[in-house]
């Protein structure tokens, strides 16, 4: 609903009372989800205008140059609220929606990554949501034929009532085949095709712009239903139309439906539109005009077509046997005009719809005030033996293997991936011999304890993961999941996080090319307490690996090679997943340190270019233990730890998280060169030990069989989910 102030403004702008249809449209367009009215004002902080950026923030997908001919498309979006209500369909349509954002720009979708968060795995309802979300993603992605190649999952009690489902899609397009979401030329036709229009998803965006209330089960009607078969046909149709140069402009019908797609296309083109609502193919009887205008039925695309090309367009769409309709024309009025049963029911300036919203006042509080309670000193009670800690850590479902999930996702379709997801960032091999590396991550616990540094560390975590494959980072996308922006604590977390991410993008000159904001991820409990999610800025990073190089593997390649840890050992455990898992909700996470990050990154990439790395992996969330376990299990090789290491029984050594750290596997004979280069780059390193063919870890007098590590690491999630 529009508030009084908004309604008064609308009447003033129109010089009359709005029609019911206009009011419904404005309500959708001015919602937080579409207008970004609480967030847009901060986007100038991001580094955006890199020469490699072909199309930045603002349309369906960002486009980044990877070669003379090719661009990759990037999009990342949340489907949190729908997934909380109807997890299967919510997640499935999240996948469908983000794929359409990618195909809107003429791209072929080549990869999906998912970032999903739920309450503790011990809770029945969390497992239900988890199971259904995974099924929804699998069902849709597998059916459309886009591989799901990576992502992350986290369980924390802050997500019990507000699960998060963020999906990233990557596309590939030749420069000559890029399509823009612009209605440029008056006289062009609007052609709508894909699924028919029904009542599903009506008010989806306004629902996503509010707290989840107790009546959630009654809001199921706001959740759309996905149809991946139609989506695949859309891909086939669009590629045929586009190859024949028949599309002038294109946008998918997502949040806000027809209203949003058409008005945004016209706004970008400085044009207007005249739409005949009776021409829209409906799946339900007696839909009213306003319902048709804002329905969020899935799998619908709208294109603008030059009159002389209309016949060929129709022929191609008819051949593929999907519903379509010529629903109107681009005009020069700069107004959105819609007719229904020969009456004009909408005649409203595009400018009012797209940019007419009021920027609400939002309050922040001083950071030290926000963090006063959160940064209290940490008291840790040791759990006993280091092996006991190993077991607990590897069984933590936030750390343990995600095999149960990714074996349900088709990750080999399209034949661009090399292996299975798991040990590191995903790698895709593209048509032109280029290779890209992809990761998607967040460290919400650190963001909660310190939004600026936590968000910057989250971005670095994503970046380190692609650097460990030998890739140079080329672009970021972000999905900012936060609480109610009308509350100063949630809004302060939000603003500080943006600043943290922005700092990284400016320090490293990695442009942000797209993303999404999801606010209002909080609920009021029966005791009238606010319960909000940990602030969760999810970062997707993309890197490019030179044509003449093979990507680095993230697991041991040989026995008898040396293992080095580069970068400084953190001072303490604060901000680590190790402590979050012990319910310690205070502490100061490691400070973002661009210098240390940069030096380590440069050293690694130089060693990669000189081809003296056997393998590498980053040390991120979960610390050293997780990194070594992944490298060891994937290769079925053990480790002889260096006896002189004093820290072998210290939790900090195994579990702490801090900036600029990687594990490198090298031949012993290259040690001299490494010493020299690390001095040049001013990077500290520690020799951890040696890889061995025997399947165990020797830590001084301790021997751990890797079969035991495997059991701890692999079995927890399946044991919950297959019970």
């Amino acid at each position: 609903m529009l508030n009084d102030k908004e309604r008064t403004l609308l009447v003033k702008k129109l010089g009359r009372e709005p029609t019911a249809e206009e009011e419904a449209m404005v309500e959708v367009m001015w919602s937080e989800h579409i207008s970004y009215k609480s967030s847009k004002r901060h986007f100038h902080l991001f580094y955006k205008d890199d020469p490699s950026v072909y199309l930045g923030i603002g349309e369906g997908a960002g486009l980044v140059e990877i070669s003379d001919d090719y661009l990759i498309g990037l999009a990342l979006e949340s489907h949190n609220h729908p997934s909380a209500i109807d997890p299967f369909n919510g997640a499935a349509t999240g996948v469908g929606g983000i794929i359409r954002d990618i195909i809107s720009q003429g791209c072929h979708p080549i990869a999906l990554l998912d970032s999903i968060r739920f309450g503790p795995i011990e809770e029945n309802h969390s497992r239900f949501l988890f199971e259904q979300v995974v099924q929804g993603i699998a069902n849709y992605g597998n059916s459309v034929g886009v591989p799901t190649v990576g992502g992350e999952i986290e369980f924390d009690r802050s997500y019990t009532d507000n699960c998060l489902v963020n999906v990233m899609c990557v596309g590939l397009v030749r420069k000559s085949e890029v399509v823009r979401s612009i209605a440029r030329s008056p006289g062009d036709y609007f052609v709508l095709f894909g699924s028919t229009t029904g009542r599903d998803g009506i008010h989806g965006v306004t629902f996503a712009s509010d707290d989840l209330a107790d009546q959630s089960s009654e809001e199921r009607g706001s959740v759309q239903i996905g149809d991946p078969l139609t989506e695949k046909i859309l891909i086939d149709v669009i590629e045929e139309l586009n190859k024949n140069k028949l599309i002038d402009g294109m946008q998918d019908l997502g949040g806000g439906g027809l209203t949003c797609a058409v008005s945004e296309m016209c706004e970008r083109g400085g044009t207007g539109c005249e739409i005949e609502l009776n021409k829209i193919p409906l799946r339900e009887k007696s839909m009213r005009a306003w319902e048709i205008l804002i329905s969020e039925s899935q799998e619908r695309m709208i294109i603008t077509v030059k009159p002389e090309k209309l016949e060929r367009v129709i022929k191609i769409i008819e051949k593929h046997e999907i519903p379509f309709s010529i629903i109107g024309k681009v005009t020069d009025t700069k107004n959105f005009v819609a007719k229904y049963n020969d009456n004009i029911v909408v005649n409203i300036p595009i400018e009012v719809l797209v940019n007419g919203f009021i920027e609400p006042e939002r309050n922040i509080i001083p950071v030290n005030e926000l963090l006063l309670d959160r940064q209290q000193p940490v008291v840790i009670n040791p759990n006993g033996s280091i092996l006991k800690e190993f077991e607990e850590h590897l069984k933590n479902p936030n750390i343990s293997s995600k095999r149960w999930i990714y074996q349900q996702y088709d990750h080999t379709v399209q034949a661009r991936t090399s292996g299975e997801p798991g040990p590191g960032a995903a790698i895709l091999h593209l048509e032109n011999g280029e290779k890209i590396s992809l990761s998607l991550t967040s460290i919400p616990y650190q963001v909660y304890l310190d939004p600026f540094n936590g968000a910057a560390n989250s971005a670095m975590d994503a970046i380190r993961s692609i650097v460990a494959t030998g890739a140079k980072p080329i672009a970021l996308v972000d999905n900012l999941n936060f609480g109610n922006p009308e509350k100063s604590d949630a809004y302060t977390e939000f603003v500080e996080s943006i600043k943290g991410i922005a700092q990284v993008t400016n320090d490293f000159k990695i442009p942000v090319v797209g993303g999404n904001v999801s606010l209002y991820n909080e609920t009021i409990t029966k005791e009238k307490q606010r319960k909000k999610i940990l602030p969760t800025p999810v970062i997707g990073a993309v890197g490019l690996i030179s044509k003449d190089k093979e990507p680095l593997k993230q697991f041991f390649r040989k026995s008898g090679s040396l293992l080095l840890m580069i970068g400084p050992l953190p001072e303490n455990l604060e901000g680590s997943e190790f402590l979050r898992n012990k319910d310690i909700m205070t502490g100061k996470p490691p400070k973002y340190n661009p210098e240390i990050e940069r030096r380590s990154m440069k050293l690694l990439l130089e060693l990669f270019n000189k081809e003296i790395l056997l393998s590498a992996n980053d040390i991120g969330k979960g610390g050293l233990l997780k990194t070594l376990v992944k490298m060891s299990l994937e290769s079925n090789k053990g480790i002889e730890f260096h006896n002189s290491l004093k820290l072998l029984y210290s939790p900090v050594f195994w579990f702490a998280e801090g900036p600029g750290r990687y594990i490198l596997e090298i031949e012993e004979e290259n040690m001299g060169l490494i010493k020299e280069l690390s001095e040049n780059h001013d990077v500290s390193f520690t020799i951890i030990g040696k890889t061995i063919s025997e399947g165990s870890w020797h830590i001084n007098e301790l021997n751990v069989n890797i079969a035991t590590l495997f059991q701890w690491f692999e079995e927890n999630i399946p044991s919950w989910m297959e019970a």
Binding site: A138, S143, L229, K232, H320, Q408, A415
Partner: protein, 233 residues
């Protein structure tokens, strides 16, 4: 030696989604690969061989592969087969061939009732048909399916064994065939079968995802090569 390139038609129904990489793989092995959408069924007549690509044709409505029976491609495929020309059906392509009764058995839901996407070892056991030159090779290949469990009744199983129609079985990396190496509950670990004549092969693993140097294995390339050799004859 100048020789006309072998022409392979890659079928695409609405919902098929492996056609692009299949065409790419065939072209990399010097075949002339031609996309045949369901509305251009007559093109089947011009082909030396047909590769039915995987995916979810018609959204798996009714049963995987079932709706294809009602399309124009069904009769044309049967004519192609009667003429002795080869057909390779992968994943949904295998399901389609079974539904068209061009291959024996049925493909039902995995015993886990989950989609399974992973790399598995398989063993070529073909004693007839175009895979028999690869007999006893162990191939490491990706599977990705929800309904990949091969089923046939006892009588049928005896018949296809007697007729040497089993061509591919799930195994371990030594080629031993046991229940531990059975990913989806297929009867007798069967991953692929052929028809009595040996010119139609269906399999659940995806050779077109396993032929380049960067793939986890390039063993799938051998299967595609064997198919192309047959199509050249």
């Amino acid at each position: 030696m100048v020789k006309a390139m072998v022409k392979i038609g890659v079928l695409r129904y609405p919902g098929t989604n492996n056609e692009i990489e299949t065409i790419k793989a065939l072209r990399s092995m010097n075949a002339e690969a031609i996309l045949i959408p369901h509305f251009e069924a007559e093109k089947i007549y011009e082909m030396d061989g047909i590769y039915i690509a995987g995916g979810f044709s018609y959204g798996d409505y009714l049963r995987p592969g079932a709706v294809v029976k009602t399309t124009e491609t069904a009769d044309k495929l049967k004519e192609h087969v009667s003429a002795g020309k080869p057909v390779l059906g992968v994943c949904n392509g295998f399901q389609i061939l079974v539904e068209l009764n061009l291959l024996p058995g049925a493909l039902v839901k995995n015993t886990s009732t989950r989609f399974i996407s992973k790399w598995v070892n398989t063993k070529i056991v073909a004693k007839k048909g175009f895979l028999s030159n690869l007999f006893s090779e162990i191939l490491y290949l990706p599977i990705a399916h929800y309904s990949g469990r091969f089923y046939i009744d006892d009588e049928g199983l005896n018949r296809i064994i007697t007729n040497k129609q089993v061509v591919l079985q799930y195994s371990n990396n030594k080629g031993e065939i046991s229940s531990e190496s059975n990913p989806n509950g297929s009867i007798s670990n069967i991953a692929g079968v052929t028809n009595e004549k040996g010119n139609v092969v269906g399999m659940m693993p995806h050779p077109e995802r396993s032929y380049q140097s960067f793939h986890r294995s390039n063993h799938g390339g051998k299967i595609i090569q064997a198919f192309l050799e047959e199509a050249k004859c």
